[in-house]
Amino acid sequence: MAEIRIENLRKEFADFVAVQDSSFVVNDGEFLALLGPSGCGKTTTLRMIAGLELPTSGKIYLDGEDVTFNRASARDIAFVFQLFALYPHMNVRKNIGFPLLSQGMPRAEIRERVEETARLLQISHILDRSVSGLAGGDRQRVALGRAIVRRPKCFLMDEPLGTLDAEFREVMVHELRELHNRVHATTVYVTHDQHEAMAMADKIAVMNHGVIEQFGTPQEIYRKPASMYVADFIGSPPMNFMRFTSSLRKGASSISLNGVDVIVPEIHQDTEERELALGVRPEHIRFSDASPLRGAVYGSEYLGTNQVVAIETGNGLIKARVPANRNFQIGETVGLEFTPANLALFDCKSGRAVASSLYSGGQHG
């Protein structure tokens, strides 16, 4: 197992920049999810780590060794492909043993290792089956088996659950995380699904247009979004943005939203007058008849344990996640209150978060 260190990695295809000067470190045994929409450069980043693409510039260190221009076969990594890429002309046993065969391992030892891996993944009963007849989940397990049988320095996975149906995907999310807990392999996992990333990863890198917008633990990504993009991409429904125009003063701990003072985490930077956005997670909104911040109910969505209520405010439509025990009439006027410690401020023009105690303080609500 090993640490993966990426330094100023850049990849250009003709005149398109797929990955822009990314740097990050995946610690030994850590599970990193590269999260982003399609075309954001997450798969390209993964393929560069694997050695399937060569970077335009930058460095890749695997276990301290510079592998930037090493061929894939010389990197001691395992890769799980989106479509599994199980060799159709081999049975399950041969598929799993194929990476060991390249190392010139004796057949008896290969057999042993393959069977051990199959036990770990609970696929011993299908070892002698042809891969073409396997169900999606078993294919997935065989692909994982082929990856873990070598005990490589790290695992790279390119949306390995993308082709499974939703129900089964959840089962596999648990299985994958459990497998990771058992083998403790450094893993880089590419996905566009925030739930997968949040459920499995130790760290998440949110990517957009080839840029890593934020790199951090799932908690950091969710609670302290570094940009409006991250705030909007993570969470369902995503973070609400209430736009207003104002200047900010360092040390202040309230803003004025349509003349109503809203308490926010202490602001750590001065800004001139400009368009800003107050970021509020739906679950950080409460209804309070006494609050001077008013809005009209626009619609509601009942979800069983709670409900999502859309409210038209003077600063745009926002969604609140509130207990399901109250019925709202459309058009009803309600008072809104936010949990102050969780509010974020963004500069609408740059999309970046405004520095505040939300980001610097270790403790938060």
């Binding site: 694997a50 076969s73 060799y87 002309h89 990476p99 390249s102 082929r146 070598r150």
Partner: protein, 317 residues
């Protein structure tokens, strides 16, 4: 497999339509088989029977055609033949009835061997080069790939006879005329264009992920190509090999022009078989029958791949 295939037809064919289709196929098969059957029948007729009019449907079969194909004979007086020791083979017997004795083997066997060497040799070379070239065009960024592919295809646009004379002159200078090597090179050059185009289609269909997976599993690109791409391209390779072999085996124009002696193939040789008093039709038919055998065997052996190769792309996995 079968369930996957049937799943593609939306409506199951009715019994009537199956019967009609079956009848059409059988009738068509009979029509196409008649010339072949006729050739075979001619090969076991005696020379007089073979040219009798109206043609004889009922006749006494004889191996005379095959004997004449494989031997050269000289005419002798009946007294001379009567004085000979007992005939040692059927052919001896058959020829003596016509007042002839076997003088030695004919050129058919060496010509047939030439055909085998040249056709299989050029097929192997064309498929080998074609597979590598197709893989290159399919997987790598080749500068001017489209133009190169068109150029490769364009070598097939000219009919052989149009280039036969320049090639004849070139071969004479190079010392390649009437050599097996010359014919192998020529047929390879003609077939490689077909092979590249056919195989590129097949290899394009094999997802790159397989090779990438193999490379990550610790194999070099060449090993990945050999262990992962080739096994999956066998269908395409078999289909391509048959097409190349059929061309090289049947080719007449180049062979007639460029070979005359030691490298002559069977197609230009067979029509030159002359017997007593003109064409020896049973011998020609016997040569044709034998000539059909290798291609028939090869095609039957590979028919599964050929069928999948021809219908390739029609059924998606």
């Amino acid at each position: 497999m079968s369930s996957a295939n049937t799943a593609h037809s939306v409506v199951a064919p009715s019994d009537t339509s199956k019967r009609v289709a079956g009848t059409i196929v059988i009738v068509y098969a009979l029509i196409t088989l008649i010339p072949l059957v006729w050739i075979f029948l001619t090969s076991i007729k005696s020379p007089p029977d073979s040219i009798s009019y109206p043609p004889k449907i009922v006749f006494t079969p004889t191996l005379e055609g095959y004997c004449n194909l494989f031997t050269t004979r000289t005419r002798q007086t009946p007294d001379y033949i009567a004085a000979l020791p007992e005939p040692t083979s059927t052919c001896d017997e058959v020829t003596r009835k016509r007042n002839m004795v076997i003088a030695g083997p004919s050129n058919f066997l060496p010509r047939f061997v030439n055909s085998l060497v040249i056709a299989f040799g050029s097929t192997f070379l064309a498929v080998f080069l074609g597979t590598l070239a197709a893989y290159g065009f399919s997987r790598f960024k080749v500068p001017l790939a489209d133009d190169l592919l068109f150029f490769i295809l364009s070598t097939r646009m000219m009919p052989p006879i149009a280039v036969a004379i320049p090639i004849y002159l070139m071969y004479r200078e190079l010392g390649l005329s009437d050599t097996a090597l010359g014919m192998i090179l020529l047929y390879t050059a003609v077939n490689v264009s077909l092979a590249v185009w056919l195989l590129k289609g097949f290899i394009d269909e094999i997802p790159r992920e397989y090779e990438e997976a193999a490379m990550i599993d610790g194999y070099t690109r060449l090993q990945a190509f050999r262990k992962v791409v080739l096994p999956q391209a066998t269908t395409g390779i078999a289909a391509t090999a048959i097409f190349c072999l059929i061309f090289a085996w049947n080719e007449y124009a180049f062979a007639a022009l460029l070979t005359s002696g030691q490298a002559q193939t069977a197609p230009p040789f067979i029509p030159t078989i002359i017997g007593e008093g003109g064409q020896d039709w049973p011998a020609v038919a016997a040569g044709t029958t034998i000539f059909l055998v290798p291609i028939l065997v090869f095609t039957i052996l590979l028919r599964k791949q050929l069928l999948r190769g021809i219908t390739f792309g029609a059924v998606r996995k």
